[in-house]
Amino acid sequence: MDIPYTVQPRPDTGLYNAKLGIWLFLASEVMLFGGLFSGYVLLRVGADRWPHGWLNVTLGTANTVILALSAITTLLAWVACKTNQFGKFKFFHACTLLLALTFLGIKSYEYHDKWIHYEIKLNDGTFADGHLVEKSADFDLAKKTGDFTIHGRIVTDENDLYDLRAQKDIQLKEITVPAADIKSMENYGPWHNTYLALYFTLTGLHALHILGGSIVIGYIWGPGRRMWKKNPAQFTNRVEVSGLFWHFVDLVWIFLFPVLYLT
């Protein structure tokens, strides 16, 4: 059975079906991310303090450039199909895949960095904040045994940990804290505060979209490329539809980067 309008546009819509389908899907995606951004606005306006400078702008910028480049290579892969240059299609789609994996690699590194970053409230009312260096084998917060070593600093006011952009020359050093001195401790996971909950939710969902898009693009580049010999026009349309999704993922990042990294 032939599926109609995989290549030819439908007379009533002027589009082939997959293209209308992807735009309807993207409309639903806009609502999904729109709801999350809307939640971000509500929570941020309601907060009486908001972290600044918690994320690495250099890594965020690198990911912005990588995603922009991958959007370009996706478009060029489609153009290569349209102009019957299959070799170029394979090259540009491979570039897209590599760039997507690089993006995910950098994002994983950033997540790991937050995972090993601890804020430790000490019994004397001060705060030790920094990245985990070493945890002694007998470390147990409940039993108050062992030591916890971080590379960071000690502050007297928790607010000093919030606006890192405003502070110049932050001196970091290795600090070993005995478990007996710790009142409570928590890493910079999504549970730490509203900002990190939003950061992990928004970027996590975005990363899942990158992963999903990579799987589709990988399929088209790999086993799916057989269609080029049988039906090049339909194959080209598949490349276009996957490219539209990829550009949308880039669009979302264009807003995520300034909202989370710069403001």
């Binding site: 109609p4 309008y5 995989t6 290549v7 030819q8 546009p9 439908r10 819509t13 002027g14 589009l15 293209k19 209308l20 735009w23 309807l24 409309a27 806009v30 609502m31 729109g34 809307s38 939640g39 606005v41 509500l42 929570l43 306006v45 309601g46 907060a47 009486d48 303090r49 908001w50 702008v57 910028t61 912005t64 450039v65 922009a68 480049l69 959007a71 370009i72 478009l75 060029l76 153009v79 290569a80 349209k82 019957n84 405003a166 505060n193 509203t194 090049p232 026009a233 339909q234 080209t236 349309n237 276009e240 550009h247 880039d250 669009l251 264009i254 807003f255 980067f257 710069l262 403001t263």
Partner: protein, 123 residues
Amino acid sequence: MSELKTAESHAAPLPGESQSHEHPVNFENYLRRCVFIFIAILCATSLMIWISFLPEHYTWAAKVGMILTVAAANAFVVAGFLMHLISEKKMIYTVLAFTVFFVIGLFALTLYAMNDFPTGTTH
């Protein structure tokens, strides 16, 4: 369903030609366009970063406003040129018009709820 027609009723497309766009595609032209778009994205990103590091007498509200304006321009470049939204079919504009309407509604509800924001979100 009488208006439905099968693919066989149309002339077969040329290899690689999807007929989704009326204009002929030229690789070199697209490559040149892509270079300009990439440079535009880089410039917009640099501008956003520069704004975010402006001195402290610019309030965060002002910085956020400026940064989001640049981000919107950046998004226009991607959507307009990479997703071909500047020359698309009417049906797609119709879908997007509905989407924009509902997204505006979503944000309007948020603004409406500003005086009633949830407690416990202060850090």
